[in-house]
Symmetry: C2
Subunit: 220 residues, 2 copies
Protein backbone atom coordinates (compact mmCIF):
# COMPACT_ATOMS: atom_id res chain seq x y z
CA UNK A 1 0.00 0.00 0.00
CA UNK A 2 1.53 3.29 -1.12
CA UNK A 3 1.96 6.01 1.45
CA UNK A 4 0.54 9.29 0.17
CA UNK A 5 1.78 12.63 1.37
CA UNK A 6 -0.99 14.11 3.53
CA UNK A 7 -1.56 15.01 7.15
CA UNK A 8 -3.26 12.49 9.37
CA UNK A 9 -3.24 9.86 12.06
CA UNK A 10 -0.94 6.89 12.52
CA UNK A 11 -2.44 4.20 14.72
CA UNK A 12 0.14 2.60 17.03
CA UNK A 13 -1.08 -0.99 17.03
CA UNK A 14 0.52 -1.83 20.35
CA UNK A 15 -1.76 -4.61 21.46
CA UNK A 16 -0.46 -7.94 22.70
CA UNK A 17 -1.72 -10.44 20.17
CA UNK A 18 -3.27 -10.92 16.75
CA UNK A 19 -6.93 -11.45 17.65
CA UNK A 20 -6.91 -8.25 19.66
CA UNK A 21 -5.21 -6.46 16.76
CA UNK A 22 -7.83 -7.52 14.22
CA UNK A 23 -10.70 -6.79 16.60
CA UNK A 24 -9.32 -3.28 17.10
CA UNK A 25 -8.65 -2.71 13.40
CA UNK A 26 -12.10 -3.94 12.33
CA UNK A 27 -13.45 -1.05 14.36
CA UNK A 28 -10.99 1.77 13.81
CA UNK A 29 -8.91 1.13 10.65
CA UNK A 30 -11.24 3.35 8.61
CA UNK A 31 -10.54 6.29 10.90
CA UNK A 32 -6.74 6.26 10.66
CA UNK A 33 -4.34 6.83 7.77
CA UNK A 34 -1.39 4.59 8.60
CA UNK A 35 -1.00 1.53 10.84
CA UNK A 36 2.18 1.30 12.91
CA UNK A 37 3.67 -1.88 14.33
CA UNK A 38 6.22 -2.12 17.11
CA UNK A 39 8.24 -5.26 17.70
CA UNK A 40 6.15 -6.79 20.52
CA UNK A 41 3.14 -7.61 18.34
CA UNK A 42 5.34 -8.75 15.46
CA UNK A 43 7.31 -11.02 17.81
CA UNK A 44 4.10 -12.42 19.26
CA UNK A 45 2.18 -12.82 15.99
CA UNK A 46 4.91 -13.20 13.36
CA UNK A 47 6.05 -10.82 10.65
CA UNK A 48 3.25 -11.98 8.34
CA UNK A 49 0.79 -9.94 10.35
CA UNK A 50 2.20 -6.87 8.60
CA UNK A 51 1.37 -8.32 5.20
CA UNK A 52 -2.07 -9.41 6.33
CA UNK A 53 -3.00 -6.09 7.92
CA UNK A 54 -1.77 -4.10 4.94
CA UNK A 55 -3.88 -6.16 2.53
CA UNK A 56 -6.98 -6.44 4.67
CA UNK A 57 -7.32 -2.77 5.59
CA UNK A 58 -5.69 -1.12 2.58
CA UNK A 59 -3.59 1.22 4.70
CA UNK A 60 0.17 1.76 4.59
CA UNK A 61 2.05 0.03 7.39
CA UNK A 62 4.90 1.65 9.31
CA UNK A 63 7.37 -0.82 10.82
CA UNK A 64 8.46 1.06 13.93
CA UNK A 65 11.43 -1.18 14.56
CA UNK A 66 13.76 1.59 15.84
CA UNK A 67 16.54 -0.04 13.86
CA UNK A 68 19.78 0.55 15.78
CA UNK A 69 22.47 -1.94 14.87
CA UNK A 70 25.42 -2.23 12.49
CA UNK A 71 24.68 -2.03 8.75
CA UNK A 72 24.69 -5.77 7.94
CA UNK A 73 21.98 -6.39 10.54
CA UNK A 74 19.99 -3.19 9.96
CA UNK A 75 19.80 -3.87 6.25
CA UNK A 76 18.52 -7.41 6.73
CA UNK A 77 15.78 -6.10 9.02
CA UNK A 78 14.90 -3.44 6.46
CA UNK A 79 14.69 -5.98 3.63
CA UNK A 80 12.46 -8.26 5.70
CA UNK A 81 10.12 -5.35 6.47
CA UNK A 82 10.02 -4.37 2.80
CA UNK A 83 9.31 -7.95 1.73
CA UNK A 84 6.50 -8.16 4.29
CA UNK A 85 4.91 -5.18 2.56
CA UNK A 86 5.67 -2.37 5.01
CA UNK A 87 5.53 1.11 3.48
CA UNK A 88 7.87 2.73 6.01
CA UNK A 89 10.40 1.91 8.71
CA UNK A 90 11.88 3.83 11.66
CA UNK A 91 15.67 3.87 11.90
CA UNK A 92 17.65 5.54 14.69
CA UNK A 93 19.84 8.51 13.77
CA UNK A 94 22.48 7.58 16.32
CA UNK A 95 23.70 4.60 14.27
CA UNK A 96 25.80 7.08 12.28
CA UNK A 97 25.99 8.30 8.71
CA UNK A 98 27.54 5.17 7.20
CA UNK A 99 24.78 3.00 8.64
CA UNK A 100 22.04 5.47 7.64
CA UNK A 101 23.30 5.77 4.09
CA UNK A 102 23.49 2.00 3.83
CA UNK A 103 19.98 1.66 5.31
CA UNK A 104 18.56 4.03 2.71
CA UNK A 105 20.15 2.03 -0.09
CA UNK A 106 18.81 -1.23 1.34
CA UNK A 107 15.35 0.29 1.76
CA UNK A 108 14.69 1.02 -1.91
CA UNK A 109 11.02 2.05 -2.13
CA UNK A 110 10.46 1.50 1.59
CA UNK A 111 10.28 4.91 3.26
CA UNK A 112 12.94 5.44 5.91
CA UNK A 113 12.08 7.72 8.84
CA UNK A 114 15.07 8.75 10.91
CA UNK A 115 14.38 8.95 14.64
CA UNK A 116 15.52 12.33 15.91
CA UNK A 117 14.53 12.07 19.56
CA UNK A 118 12.96 9.55 21.92
CA UNK A 119 9.86 10.85 23.69
CA UNK A 120 10.59 9.40 27.15
CA UNK A 121 12.35 11.57 29.76
CA UNK A 122 15.61 9.74 28.99
CA UNK A 123 15.24 10.87 25.38
CA UNK A 124 16.36 14.26 26.63
CA UNK A 125 19.57 12.79 28.07
CA UNK A 126 21.16 11.57 24.86
CA UNK A 127 19.04 11.68 21.69
CA UNK A 128 17.92 15.27 22.26
CA UNK A 129 21.51 16.51 22.03
CA UNK A 130 21.54 15.44 18.38
CA UNK A 131 17.99 16.06 17.24
CA UNK A 132 19.00 18.89 14.94
CA UNK A 133 21.97 16.96 13.63
CA UNK A 134 19.81 13.89 12.92
CA UNK A 135 17.32 16.13 11.10
CA UNK A 136 20.15 17.63 9.03
CA UNK A 137 21.41 14.16 8.15
CA UNK A 138 17.88 13.10 7.13
CA UNK A 139 17.62 16.07 4.78
CA UNK A 140 21.15 15.59 3.48
CA UNK A 141 20.62 11.89 2.77
CA UNK A 142 17.16 12.56 1.35
CA UNK A 143 15.34 10.20 3.70
CA UNK A 144 11.55 10.01 3.32
CA UNK A 145 11.15 11.65 6.67
CA UNK A 146 11.93 11.86 10.34
CA UNK A 147 10.30 11.03 13.63
CA UNK A 148 10.04 13.91 16.07
CA UNK A 149 8.67 14.12 19.62
CA UNK A 150 5.01 15.18 19.46
CA UNK A 151 5.04 15.84 23.19
CA UNK A 152 7.60 18.59 22.52
CA UNK A 153 6.01 20.75 19.76
CA UNK A 154 8.80 23.34 19.86
CA UNK A 155 11.17 20.56 18.78
CA UNK A 156 8.81 19.59 15.94
CA UNK A 157 8.84 23.19 14.74
CA UNK A 158 12.63 23.32 14.79
CA UNK A 159 12.87 19.97 12.99
CA UNK A 160 10.51 21.25 10.26
CA UNK A 161 12.72 24.31 9.77
CA UNK A 162 15.72 22.05 9.31
CA UNK A 163 14.26 19.37 7.04
CA UNK A 164 12.29 21.78 4.84
CA UNK A 165 8.91 21.09 3.26
CA UNK A 166 9.78 17.91 1.33
CA UNK A 167 10.42 15.46 4.18
CA UNK A 168 7.58 13.93 6.17
CA UNK A 169 7.52 14.30 9.94
CA UNK A 170 5.76 11.66 12.03
CA UNK A 171 5.33 12.34 15.73
CA UNK A 172 5.19 9.92 18.63
CA UNK A 173 4.31 11.13 22.10
CA UNK A 174 0.70 12.18 21.43
CA UNK A 175 -1.96 11.31 24.00
CA UNK A 176 -0.69 9.04 26.80
CA UNK A 177 2.79 10.56 26.60
CA UNK A 178 1.51 14.10 27.00
CA UNK A 179 1.32 15.56 23.48
CA UNK A 180 -1.96 17.32 22.64
CA UNK A 181 -4.00 16.14 19.65
CA UNK A 182 -3.24 18.44 16.72
CA UNK A 183 -0.30 20.02 18.52
CA UNK A 184 2.37 18.32 16.45
CA UNK A 185 0.60 18.86 13.11
CA UNK A 186 0.06 22.47 14.15
CA UNK A 187 3.83 22.68 14.71
CA UNK A 188 4.59 21.37 11.24
CA UNK A 189 4.28 17.57 11.42
CA UNK A 190 2.48 15.42 8.85
CA UNK A 191 1.32 12.63 11.10
CA UNK A 192 0.50 12.16 14.75
CA UNK A 193 0.92 8.69 16.16
CA UNK A 194 -1.83 7.72 18.58
CA UNK A 195 -1.88 4.44 20.44
CA UNK A 196 -3.02 4.07 24.03
CA UNK A 197 -5.66 6.81 23.71
CA UNK A 198 -7.41 4.49 21.26
CA UNK A 199 -6.52 0.88 22.09
CA UNK A 200 -6.74 1.27 25.86
CA UNK A 201 -10.15 2.93 25.65
CA UNK A 202 -13.17 0.84 26.70
CA UNK A 203 -14.72 2.08 23.43
CA UNK A 204 -11.91 2.30 20.85
CA UNK A 205 -14.22 3.27 17.97
CA UNK A 206 -15.56 6.22 19.88
CA UNK A 207 -12.06 7.09 21.09
CA UNK A 208 -10.71 7.03 17.52
CA UNK A 209 -13.58 9.25 16.35
CA UNK A 210 -12.77 11.63 19.18
CA UNK A 211 -9.09 11.71 18.22
CA UNK A 212 -10.06 12.27 14.57
CA UNK A 213 -12.31 15.18 15.56
CA UNK A 214 -9.65 16.70 17.82
CA UNK A 215 -7.01 16.56 15.09
CA UNK A 216 -9.34 17.56 12.21
CA UNK A 217 -9.01 21.36 12.61
CA UNK A 218 -5.23 21.04 12.21
CA UNK A 219 -5.23 18.85 9.08
CA UNK A 220 -3.96 20.38 5.86
Amino acid sequence: MKWERKTGIVLALDVAERDEAFRLLDGVAGMVDVIKFNYPLVLAAGLDIITEVGKRYGKPVLADFKVADVPVTNNRIIRLAAEAGAAGIMVHGFIGIDALRSALEAAGELKVFIVTQLTNPGGLEFTARFTEEFAEIAAFLDAAGVQAPGNRPEVVKKVREIVGPELMIVCCGIGAQGGKFGGAIGAGADFEIVGRAIYQSPDPVRAAAGVRDAIAPFLK
Copy 2:
Protein backbone atom coordinates in the same frame (compact mmCIF):
# COMPACT_ATOMS: atom_id res chain seq x y z
CA MET B 1 19.67 -22.26 30.37
CA LYS B 2 21.59 -20.33 32.99
CA TRP B 3 24.46 -18.16 31.87
CA GLU B 4 27.59 -18.92 33.90
CA ARG B 5 30.32 -16.38 34.45
CA LYS B 6 33.29 -17.53 32.39
CA THR B 7 35.26 -16.34 29.39
CA GLY B 8 34.32 -17.75 26.03
CA ILE B 9 32.74 -17.46 22.63
CA VAL B 10 29.30 -16.16 21.67
CA LEU B 11 28.14 -17.43 18.29
CA ALA B 12 26.27 -14.77 16.32
CA LEU B 13 23.66 -16.91 14.60
CA ASP B 14 23.13 -14.48 11.76
CA VAL B 15 21.93 -16.89 9.10
CA ALA B 16 18.80 -16.24 7.06
CA GLU B 17 16.47 -19.07 8.02
CA ARG B 18 15.81 -21.89 10.45
CA ASP B 19 17.10 -24.90 8.50
CA GLU B 20 20.40 -23.15 7.97
CA ALA B 21 20.52 -22.24 11.67
CA PHE B 22 20.01 -25.82 12.83
CA ARG B 23 22.45 -27.18 10.26
CA LEU B 24 25.07 -24.75 11.53
CA LEU B 25 24.33 -25.42 15.21
CA ASP B 26 24.40 -29.20 14.78
CA GLY B 27 28.02 -28.73 13.72
CA VAL B 28 29.30 -25.98 15.96
CA ALA B 29 27.08 -25.57 19.05
CA GLY B 30 29.46 -27.73 21.11
CA MET B 31 32.30 -25.36 20.40
CA VAL B 32 30.66 -22.14 21.59
CA ASP B 33 29.41 -20.97 24.99
CA VAL B 34 26.45 -18.75 24.15
CA ILE B 35 24.21 -18.46 21.08
CA LYS B 36 23.24 -14.96 19.98
CA PHE B 37 20.21 -14.06 17.88
CA ASN B 38 19.68 -10.84 15.99
CA TYR B 39 16.26 -9.78 14.78
CA PRO B 40 16.51 -10.95 11.16
CA LEU B 41 16.48 -14.68 11.97
CA VAL B 42 13.83 -14.21 14.66
CA LEU B 43 11.64 -12.27 12.21
CA ALA B 44 12.10 -14.93 9.56
CA ALA B 45 11.71 -17.99 11.80
CA GLY B 46 9.57 -16.73 14.70
CA LEU B 47 10.48 -16.07 18.31
CA ASP B 48 10.01 -19.76 19.18
CA ILE B 49 13.34 -20.51 17.55
CA ILE B 50 14.98 -19.04 20.65
CA THR B 51 13.16 -21.51 22.89
CA GLU B 52 13.93 -24.40 20.58
CA VAL B 53 17.63 -23.62 20.21
CA GLY B 54 18.09 -23.09 23.94
CA LYS B 55 16.53 -26.48 24.72
CA ARG B 56 18.12 -28.44 21.91
CA TYR B 57 21.70 -27.28 22.43
CA GLY B 58 21.71 -26.55 26.17
CA LYS B 59 23.41 -23.17 25.73
CA PRO B 60 22.29 -19.79 27.01
CA VAL B 61 20.74 -17.58 24.34
CA LEU B 62 21.50 -13.87 24.01
CA ALA B 63 18.69 -11.86 22.36
CA ASP B 64 20.69 -9.16 20.61
CA PHE B 65 17.69 -6.98 19.94
CA LYS B 66 19.46 -3.64 20.48
CA VAL B 67 16.37 -2.45 22.33
CA ALA B 68 16.04 1.29 21.70
CA ASP B 69 12.52 2.55 22.26
CA VAL B 70 10.44 4.10 25.04
CA PRO B 71 9.95 2.06 28.24
CA VAL B 72 6.49 0.66 27.49
CA THR B 73 7.73 -0.89 24.25
CA ASN B 74 11.19 -1.89 25.49
CA ASN B 75 9.73 -3.70 28.45
CA ARG B 76 7.29 -5.68 26.32
CA ILE B 77 10.15 -6.80 24.09
CA ILE B 78 12.17 -7.76 27.16
CA ARG B 79 9.31 -9.80 28.63
CA LEU B 80 8.77 -11.62 25.34
CA ALA B 81 12.48 -12.49 25.16
CA ALA B 82 12.41 -13.70 28.78
CA GLU B 83 9.31 -15.82 28.16
CA ALA B 84 10.95 -17.33 25.09
CA GLY B 85 13.77 -18.50 27.36
CA ALA B 86 16.53 -16.06 26.46
CA ALA B 87 19.23 -15.71 29.12
CA GLY B 88 20.33 -12.24 28.12
CA ILE B 89 19.28 -9.23 26.05
CA MET B 90 21.10 -6.22 24.57
CA VAL B 91 19.64 -2.81 25.37
CA HIS B 92 21.01 0.51 24.06
CA GLY B 93 22.45 2.95 26.59
CA PHE B 94 21.13 5.72 24.37
CA ILE B 95 17.55 5.31 25.64
CA GLY B 96 18.40 7.14 28.87
CA ILE B 97 18.44 6.29 32.56
CA ASP B 98 14.67 6.14 33.11
CA ALA B 99 14.28 3.64 30.30
CA LEU B 100 17.30 1.59 31.41
CA ARG B 101 16.12 1.42 34.99
CA SER B 102 12.70 0.35 33.83
CA ALA B 103 14.22 -2.24 31.48
CA LEU B 104 16.21 -3.78 34.31
CA GLU B 105 13.09 -4.08 36.43
CA ALA B 106 11.16 -5.66 33.57
CA ALA B 107 14.02 -8.07 32.87
CA GLY B 108 13.98 -9.85 36.24
CA GLU B 109 16.35 -12.82 35.89
CA LEU B 110 17.04 -12.04 32.23
CA LYS B 111 20.54 -10.53 32.02
CA VAL B 112 20.59 -7.03 30.56
CA PHE B 113 23.68 -5.96 28.62
CA ILE B 114 23.90 -2.25 27.96
CA VAL B 115 25.32 -1.37 24.56
CA THR B 116 28.14 1.14 25.03
CA GLN B 117 29.26 1.60 21.45
CA LEU B 118 28.32 0.41 17.98
CA THR B 119 31.20 -1.24 16.12
CA ASN B 120 30.52 0.29 12.70
CA PRO B 121 32.39 3.48 11.66
CA GLY B 122 29.24 5.49 12.48
CA GLY B 123 29.43 4.11 16.01
CA LEU B 124 32.25 6.60 16.51
CA GLU B 125 30.01 9.50 15.48
CA PHE B 126 27.45 9.30 18.28
CA THR B 127 27.60 6.25 20.57
CA ALA B 128 31.35 6.57 21.17
CA ARG B 129 30.89 9.98 22.78
CA PHE B 130 28.99 8.29 25.61
CA THR B 131 30.72 4.93 25.94
CA GLU B 132 32.19 5.76 29.33
CA GLU B 133 28.93 7.27 30.51
CA PHE B 134 26.95 4.19 29.43
CA ALA B 135 29.48 1.98 31.25
CA GLU B 136 29.07 4.10 34.38
CA ILE B 137 25.29 3.82 34.14
CA ALA B 138 25.55 0.03 33.73
CA ALA B 139 27.65 -0.22 36.88
CA PHE B 140 25.44 2.21 38.78
CA LEU B 141 22.24 0.37 37.83
CA ASP B 142 23.90 -3.00 38.45
CA ALA B 143 23.18 -4.37 34.99
CA ALA B 144 24.48 -7.88 34.26
CA GLY B 145 26.94 -6.45 31.82
CA VAL B 146 27.76 -4.29 28.85
CA GLN B 147 28.56 -4.70 25.21
CA ALA B 148 31.81 -3.09 24.09
CA PRO B 149 33.48 -2.86 20.67
CA GLY B 150 35.87 -5.81 20.27
CA ASN B 151 37.43 -4.15 17.25
CA ARG B 152 38.59 -1.34 19.55
CA PRO B 153 40.42 -3.17 22.42
CA GLU B 154 41.55 0.08 24.04
CA VAL B 155 37.85 0.91 24.54
CA VAL B 156 37.25 -2.53 26.07
CA LYS B 157 40.08 -1.90 28.53
CA LYS B 158 38.63 1.47 29.53
CA VAL B 159 35.13 -0.02 29.89
CA ARG B 160 36.52 -2.75 32.17
CA GLU B 161 38.16 -0.10 34.37
CA ILE B 162 34.82 1.67 34.69
CA VAL B 163 32.48 -1.28 35.26
CA GLY B 164 34.83 -3.13 37.64
CA PRO B 165 35.23 -6.90 37.90
CA GLU B 166 31.60 -7.83 38.59
CA LEU B 167 29.93 -6.91 35.30
CA MET B 168 30.28 -9.07 32.22
CA ILE B 169 31.61 -7.56 29.01
CA VAL B 170 30.58 -9.08 25.67
CA CYS B 171 32.30 -7.83 22.55
CA CYS B 172 31.00 -7.56 19.02
CA GLY B 173 33.32 -6.61 16.20
CA ILE B 174 35.56 -9.71 16.27
CA GLY B 175 36.57 -11.30 12.97
CA ALA B 176 34.79 -9.80 9.95
CA GLN B 177 34.62 -6.39 11.61
CA GLY B 178 38.36 -6.29 12.28
CA GLY B 179 38.77 -7.37 15.92
CA LYS B 180 41.48 -10.04 16.48
CA PHE B 181 40.49 -13.32 18.15
CA GLY B 182 41.42 -13.10 21.81
CA GLY B 183 42.07 -9.37 21.60
CA ALA B 184 38.94 -8.34 23.47
CA ILE B 185 39.26 -11.01 26.16
CA GLY B 186 42.91 -10.02 26.51
CA ALA B 187 41.70 -6.45 27.07
CA GLY B 188 39.29 -7.50 29.84
CA ALA B 189 36.18 -8.84 28.12
CA ASP B 190 34.38 -12.03 29.10
CA PHE B 191 33.00 -13.01 25.72
CA GLU B 192 33.89 -12.46 22.10
CA ILE B 193 31.05 -12.60 19.62
CA VAL B 194 31.98 -14.37 16.40
CA GLY B 195 29.60 -14.68 13.47
CA ARG B 196 30.68 -14.39 9.87
CA ALA B 197 34.09 -16.01 10.53
CA ILE B 198 32.14 -19.18 11.34
CA TYR B 199 28.84 -19.15 9.46
CA GLN B 200 30.24 -17.78 6.21
CA SER B 201 33.06 -20.34 6.14
CA PRO B 202 32.74 -23.19 3.63
CA ASP B 203 33.61 -25.45 6.60
CA PRO B 204 31.99 -23.90 9.70
CA VAL B 205 33.04 -26.75 12.02
CA ARG B 206 36.66 -26.32 11.11
CA ALA B 207 36.31 -22.53 11.29
CA ALA B 208 34.77 -22.73 14.77
CA ALA B 209 37.57 -25.02 15.93
CA GLY B 210 40.06 -22.52 14.54
CA VAL B 211 38.37 -19.66 16.39
CA ARG B 212 38.31 -21.72 19.58
CA ASP B 213 42.04 -22.45 19.23
CA ALA B 214 42.84 -18.81 18.51
CA ILE B 215 40.94 -17.59 21.56
CA ALA B 216 42.01 -20.44 23.91
CA PRO B 217 45.29 -18.85 25.10
CA PHE B 218 43.32 -15.80 26.32
CA LEU B 219 40.60 -17.67 28.24
CA LYS B 220 40.58 -17.35 32.01
